[in-house]
Amino acid sequence: MAADGGMGHATKRREDVRFLMGLGKYCDDHTPAKTSYCAFARSNVANGKINSIDTVAAAGMPGVLAVFTGEDFAEVGGNPAGWLINSRDGEPMKEPKRPVLAYGKVRHVGDAYAAVIAETLEQAMDAVEAIEADIDELDAVVKMADALANDKTLVHDEIGTNQCFDWGWIEDNRAATDAAIKAAPHVTTLELVNNRLVPNAMEPRCSIGEYEPGTGDYKLTTTSQNPHLTRLLISAFVLGIPENKLTVHSPDVGGGFGSKIYHYGEEALVLAAAKKLNRPVKWTSTRTEAFLSDAHGRDHVTKIELACEKDGTFIAFRTETMANVGAYLSNFSTVTPTFLHGTLMAGNYTVPNVYVNVKAVFTNTAPVDAYRGAGRPEASFSLERVIDKAARELGINPIELRRKNFIKPDQYPFASAAGLEYDSGNYDALMDALEKRANLDGFEARCAESKKNGKLRGLGINSYVEACGIAPSNLVGILGARVGLYDAATVRVNATGNISVMVGAHSHGQGHETAFPQIVADMLGIDPLSIDIVHGDTSKIPFGMGTYGSRSLAVCGSAVFRATEKIIKKATLIAAHMLEDEPENVDFTDGDFAVKGTNKKVSFGEVALKAYIPHDFPIEFIEPGLEETAFYDPANFTYPSGAYGCEVEVDPETGKVDICAMVAIDDFGNVVNPMIVTGQVQGGLAQGIGQALLEHGIYDENGQLLSGSFMDYAMPRADDLPNFVVDHSNATPCTHNPIGAKGCGEAGAIGSPPTVVNAVIDALQRGGYDVEHIDMPVSPARVWAAMNA
C-alpha cells in the first residue's frame, strides 16, 4: 500500500506552485552583471553561395562590441550526429560538417551566417541590418524525391549527393519479405506522408555564455533537455573547452518536445563571444527564429505494404520511407527514422516478415530531428493506417483484424520480426478496456444521431506498441550510437534527515520534482516533502543523459531507486552499530531500523544524524556520511502499448472534422503518480491531434517556410479538443527495471494521429465517399477536396 505521497499516489505537482505564481526562473530570467546581447543575421534564401560578408559598417554602429561570421569558426569542429548509420551496401552515412555559423554557403532559410554582440538587443538588431552580405541565391531542393533525383543542385556539394544514407532493416530479412509478399493471397498498399511539424515549445530557446578569466571557467545557461550531453558535444566536438572547465546549467525550461535535446550553434557562439569580450553574452530566440531554426519533427514520405491471408492473418509488412533530415544532421536525426522507427514496424503483431528501407535525404529546409515520439509515431501511423485499409478490403472488423494478429500474453518475452524483444504486455486486455470505455456498443446509435444532424460520424481504432526507456548502452553501441544511454542519480541524506537527490534527467514540464521524491519517500518511509530534486546543472549532478524518449522514470528513476537501495544498506550498517547488533539482524520498515524480534529501534533521522556526527564510529568498517550514487543502464527498452479510439463528425458541406470522443487506454507498467501520467497523456493527445488535424510545417518550392508564424501554423487549442478519457489501469509491469515502469511521455502523440485519421476515413466511407486516405493535417480543405475528387 502506497504511503501518502509515495508510489502510486496522485500527489499534486509541487513545482507548479512556482510556475503558476510566476516564480519560475527560466534562462531569459538570468541576466548576469554586464550582460551583452546577441542577434543573428540569418539567411532569407534557402540555398545560397556566400561571396562576401562585409561587417565593417555593422562593427562601427553604436554599442556594437563584436561581429562574428562563419570565418571565425572555420577552424573549430562541427556539431556531430550522435548516431552512425550504415547504408545497405555497408557504406557509412554522409556526414557533412555542421558549422557554428554558415560558412561558404547558406543552406536553409534561417541559417545563421553572422552574429552581432552589442550593449543592448536593439543595437545588436540594428547592426545585423547593417551587415552587407553578398549571397548568390541558388536553386533549392525542397521535396525529397526531387532531392534524390537531382545530382546538380546539392545541399552539400562536397558529398556529391543529397542522400545521407540508404538503410535496410533487417537487411537479411529482405529477400524473405519480398518473397512472402509476392506469394501472398492479399496485399494492401498505402502511400502516405507524415507531415513536418514545428515543435513550438512555449519558451523559445535561450543561451547565455559566461567566462571567468581568473580561472578559465566557462558557464553556459541554456534551454537544454540534457545539459551533460550539451557539455559533451561542445567540449569533445565543437569548441574543445575541457569538460571540467565548462558548466552547463539548464534551469526551468518551458517545454522541449525533443527540440531542446540538441546542441545548436547559438550555444557555441555565446560561449566563444563571452570569452572574447570577457562579458556575459545572451541570446534569446524570437518566435520567428524558433520557427526557422529549431529542429523540426517527422517529415516522412512512405509506401507501406501489408500482405495477409484471406482470413486476415498477417504475413509481412514492407516499408519504403524517405526521411527528410533537412539541411544539416541534427544530433539524433539519423537514429530517429532508423532504429526508433524501423524496429517498431512489427507493431503489436505476430507477423513473421518485416522489412524496412529508409533513405535519409538532405534538403534546403530546417534540420529535422526527434520530436515527441521520435520515429515511433511514424511507425505507428504507417502500420495502423494500412491495417485499417486492409480491414476494409478484406471485410473484417478493424478490431477483430488487430486482435487476430496480436501477440498473446503467454508469448512474452516475444522476439518481434523487426528485431526487438518485447518483455511484457496484454494487448487484448487493452482492447477490451477500450471497447468498454469508448462505449462502442452505442456507436451505431450515435452514428444515426449525427446523420440526423447532417453530419458523418466515424470510428477510428488503433493499437500501438513503442520502445522507450532509452536505452541499453551495449545494444545501442552495436547499432551505431556514439554515446551510452544510462542515467545517474546521487541521493544525499543531510545530517538533519532531509534529502537532496541529484539526477541526470531534466524536467521541463514532466514533474520530476514531484515524482522522483515519491520513489525515495516510499522506500525510506519518510515525508516526500523532505526530499528535493536537483537537476539541470552539470556542476551539481552526476553525469546523466537527460530527458527524451520517455526515459526519465524508467532509466533515471531506476538509478534513483538503486541509489536509495544503497542508502538503506549503508544506513542499516550505521543503525546496527547504534543498536549494538549485527546488520543482518536489523530490519528497515516504515522509516525505522529495528532489531528483529525486539523493540529496540532507531529512526531514519537518527541514523542520518549519526552518519555526520560519527564520534563513536568503527571507522575501519563504516565511512562517515550518507550519500550514494548509482548509474543505471537498462537491460532492454521498455514497451508501453495502448489501444486508442476516436469518434469524429465530419461536416460534409465544409469538410470540417470535429472530434467527439478520444479514448486512450495505455499500459505504462507501474505508475508512480497517476495524475502526472494522465497529464502527460493529455498533452500527448493534444499534440497528436494537432498533427492529425492542424499542424503543418510547409515550405514552398523556393524553400520559404509558408507556415512560419502562428498566423499560418495551426497549434491545437483547447476548443479543438474533446474531453479525453485516459485510463492506464491495465498495467503489465516492465520486467527488467526495479520500478516496473515503462514510460508515458510520448504515448499520446504516438497513438492518436492514426486513430484520428482512421476515424475520418471511416466517417467518409460510411457516408458513401470512396476515400481511402487523406494526408495529415486532415484540414477542412483537404477533406472537402477528397470528397469532391
Binding site: K656, L694, H696
Partner: protein
Amino acid sequence: MYNFEFTKPTTVEDAAKAMSAEGAQALGGGQTLLPTMKQRLAMPEILVSLTDVEGMVGVSKAGTTLTIGGGTTHAQVATDAAASYPGLSALADGIGDPAVRNRGTIGGSLANNDPAACYPAAALASGATITTNKRDILADNYFQGMFETALDETEIVTAVSFPIPEKSNYQKFVQPASRFALVGVFVAKTADGVRVAVTGASNGGVYRWTEAETALNGDFSARAIEDMSGDATDMITDLHGSAEYRAHLVGVLTRRAVVASS
C-alpha cells in the same frame, strides 16, 4: 521594434494635426500595428494614439442608424450593440480572443482592411458610412482591395454609421491557424433589399456577391441560392484552401447566414 515618438491627443483636431507630421501613424488598439512593429516590418516615426480622443468611443442609436465611434473596441461593440444590432454584435464577439477584443477597435480594423477581417463584411453588407475627420465615405466606395481603402494617409476614422437591417447574420469559417475568416459572409436584409458581403475569399478583398443578392431579393431563403457558389476566378489560393474551396464555402456560408439571420 525601432524607436518612435508617441503622442496622445485628446481632440480630433489635435489628432489630425499630429497625423500631418512626417512619418506619423495612427494607433488604435495596436492589435495589428504593434505586432508588425515588433517584427520590424513597420517603422512609424510618431505614433498618434487615438485612445483618449474625445467622442471617438461609444455606441449610440438614433432612429434606425447605429453609430459607433472609431475608437470603440470589439468587446464594447459586442456588448453595446447586442440589443440593437445582434448580427454586428455577434460578429464583434467572434473576433480574435478576449485580449484582442478588449484592445482592437473598429476604426483600426476598417483602416487596415485585412482581406480576412470581419468588420469589412459587416460594413459593406450593411451599407455603412465611414466618417473621418474630413468626410463621409460610403462603404461601397471605401473598400478598394486588399489592405487598400479610400482613406488618405492622414485621415482618421472617427465613426462608422450602420443602417440597422431587418435581419442579418454573419457566418465565419475560420482559418485554422489565425482564426481570421478563411471565408466570412455577412447577409443583411434591409427595406431596400438584400446585401451579401464576402470577406476572406477574394484577391480583391471584401466584395458584394450580387448574384446571390438578386436571387435572395426574389426569395429570402436558402433554397433560392441552393446550387450557387462563388466565382473562383479571382479567389485566394493558399495553404489553407484553394480558390475552388473558398468559392464553395461562399455558397455554403451564405445559405447558413440566410437561415440563421434574425
